[in-house]
């Protein structure tokens, strides 16, 4: 099977790249072995959130200070602003309405109630532009009875520390009570599938209107809006006070929707999305990749002029560690990683971890290196790249989208 480009990995980076190429008329195949880390995303994108533990307020400026090994530096710091605008537009075209801009970070609120710098946030989510000027003082934090994926105590405490006057209010409706029969599966995504009828939303709105007395802002866990934002709009029209969603622990409804909308848009543009298949090996001719064999297509490899590796980090199996080494499992590409196992991790989950900066080695055009030489038509994007740290630097989603758009330009121009 031949298309112009084959992308390995169907997460944020693979889909961004696939959409951008398909829009320019390319025929693209994406092979994705499973769902992606977007299911962990609460509804925000980050360009650059922290450098050495200090929050970044103006990411475009801060990007200029990053070392040459960082993917942003390889793309070129001067190109970031333009690519960031393009990324925001691509999301909007796919039906994902986000607010924010690359010149100044705003704050998103994590499920644990911590404010983190962000670049873009879904319109319906709580977003704070300036921590000294909160959007409201008195907030009603509505907590769904029996729903575990929102640690309400920590969230309320975190919001109080930011200066909100928080009242945590537990509530339920008949619809929600009936869902509790299977408490182990009372997850955000299950709620979102069930709480869709206008009457179910009205019963929730009634509870909120009864219980939220003098609050100026109502916060509700983000368990609505499986396919689009209309459930939020419906709820807001029923709730008498301004309403915002707060992110929940994964699996996240907002992240699932972003994934589904991007995939849908990609398919609308004529792209092939092979869900549940995985790339297992490649056929090379010198420094050129000719084809990729997948587990399910078997003896019919995916052939293309260009290939893009968007297979994610360890959690998505884009990188694998065994007892001896860290490696890239499909092509055995060169990786930037420490050799000694003791150096990979540090004790304490919240400590900066060396392994989170590991990834495949690339040249300045993000071409993958194998045996010290770049493969001419294989580029890497997103979290499989080395030199960045989604957890500690808050640059994961930005790197995913911007590297995807940057290699698109390389592929189209034939450079």
């Amino acid at each position: 099977m031949r298309t112009d480009t084959v992308i390995i990995g169907g997460g944020l980076s693979g889909l961004t790249c696939g959409i951008a190429l398909a829009k320019r008329g390319q025929r693209v195949t994406i092979v994705a072995s499973g769902q992606s880390t977007l299911l962990f995303n609460g509804g925000s994108m980050e360009l650059l959130g922290n450098i050495d533990g200090i929050a970044v307020t103006t990411p475009l400026e801060a990007i200029g200070t990053l070392p040459q090994s960082h993917p942003y530096s390889k793309i070129g710091a001067d190109k970031i602003a333009g690519l960031a605008d393009e990324a925001k537009q691509l999301l909007a075209d796919a039906g994902i309405d986000m607010e924010g801009n690359a010149s100044a970070n705003h704050w998103r609120i994590t499920p644990m109630g911590v404010a983190k710098p962000a670049w873009l946030t879904l319109k319906e989510n709580l977003r704070i532009d300036d921590l000294d000027k909160l959007p409201a003082k008195r907030v009603a934090l509505m907590c769904i009875r029996g729903y575990f994926d929102q640690p309400n105590g920590m969230l309320a405490q975190g919001l109080r520390e930011l200066g909100f006057d928080v009242k945590a209010i537990e509530f339920t409706t008949d619809d929600i009570t009936s869902l509790r029969r299977s408490p182990s599966e009372m997850r955000a995504t299950t709620l979102a599938k069930r709480l869709i009828s206008n009457s179910a939303l009205q019963r929730i709105a009634d509870q909120i209107n009864n219980l939220s007395d003098d609050a100026e802002l109502v916060l509700l866990p983000s368990v609505f809006g499986q396919t689009d934002a209309t459930d939020f709009q419906t709820l807001q029209s029923m709730v008498k006070k301004p309403l915002r969603f707060v992110a929940t622990l994964p699996p996240s409804v907002a992240g699932g929707r972003i994934q589904a909308l991007l995939r849908h848009y990609f398919k609308m543009l004529g792209g092939n999305y092979l869900m549940g298949d995985s790339a297992v090996s490649g056929q090379f001719d010198g420094d050129k990749l000719l084809g990729v064999t997948t587990a399910k297509l078997g003896d019919m490899p995916l052939k293309a002029n260009n290939f893009v590796l968007a297979s994610g980090s360890f959690i998505s199996r884009g990188l694998v560690a065994n007892y001896e080494r860290v490696f890239e499992p499909v092509f055995d590409l060169d990786v930037d990683a420490d050799g000694e196992r003791e150096q990979w991790t540090r004790f304490g989950v919240l400590e900066p971890q060396a392994y989170s900066r590991y990834g495949v080695a690339t040249d300045n055009d993000l071409r993958c290196m194998k045996d010290g030489k770049p493969i001419q038509n294989l580029r890497a994007i997103g979290s499989v790249l080395s030199g960045h740290d989604a957890v500690k630097m808050g640059d994961g989603t930005g790197v995913s989208m911007l590297t995807a758009l940057a290699v698109t330009k390389g592929i189209i121009s034939g450079k």
Partner: protein, 421 residues
Amino acid sequence: MAERMQLCNISDNNFEQCTKCSICTTVCPVAAVTTDYPGPKQAGPDGERYRLKDHAYYDKALKLCLNCKRCEVACPSGVNIADIIQHARMKAGEGQRASLRDTMLANTDLLGMVANLVAPVANATLGLAPTKLVMDSVMAIDKHRTFPAYSRTKFTTWFKRHAAKEQDAYPNHVSYFHGCYVNYNFPKLGQDLVKLMNAVGYGVHLLDKEQCCGVALIANGLYKQAKRQARTNADSIRKSVKDDHLTVLTTSSSCTFNLRDEYPSLLGVDTSDVRDGIMIATRFIYNLVDEEKIKLIFKQDFKKRMAYHTACHMQRMGWQLYSIELLRRIPGLDLQVLEQECCGISGTYGFKKENYERSQAIGSILFKHIEDAKVEAVITDCETCKWQIEMSTGLPVENPISVLADALDVEATRRANGLQI
């Protein structure tokens, strides 16, 4: 040390690979519509830990699983969730007898054979209001269901009478596992395949002995019978692939998945040596076209707008690409590829009264997408999806092979492939 540690961590099914991310639960069509079902994570890897200790932890709700495999497709860690669930069900079902209703639904070929002899009567009676009511109350087959119509002439009879003789004259050859649906309900699909393959220079041959693949037997707990039939089919397929060097083509995604993957994983009937020789016809044809070994020429005046629905088992095999890409080659076809959703029927599941409402609730998302697509017909590789979609949307549903055969300019294609017309 490294090797030893790995060994400790490997079970028959790979439930230990589960990282508890819950992604599977987000795609399970059953968990989405009922709280009676605990969802794939709980029913599969989580429950397995308990069941390993003591099978008394088996939860009857596992019967609600459709075996649609969407959970497996979504799992980032490659856990064979639905297999784990099916095995637990098989273990729980050992020594129990299936009900008359389940036996009847499961024996698609037996039912087909009888109905076939009396097709006009069967079609009339199975569709009649009083019969439906009896089936509903006595047999617990939901009254809303329409049984697929039975054909008067079996596919095999037609083939022997009208097609078999000339097949040897073609330069290349394949075998065809037609399945119960083609044989008893819809011979036209088999005829379309013969027409298409012949036009590109391939003679089509039946297997020495074909029995129902048994997908419905497995779903209804008739494992012994399923195993017997699987052995017969495996032998015939082996003869075709190994001795005669003929690839075995199919036109049903569920039969195909069953023959290739469920025979070894659920029934313990090893087909791994011939697995690569069994494939859905669109894959075989696509490959020939891609390698420029054959040419397809389509009619100038074929103009249709149709939607492609990826059947769950087709997605599990990862082969929808072949059907879609072949269909895209038809110039007059405006093809809308639908988001993958489960139609809710899952073979015989939706025929059972206790499942009817759930089945329709599951399918409602797909039906809405079909309605929004504004098409004149739907295309899918699975016959039970076809029944469900036809009943629920009123639109006709066709197999990709029939659409290709319909759009094909047979004479021009035969000529382009160097055949005497």
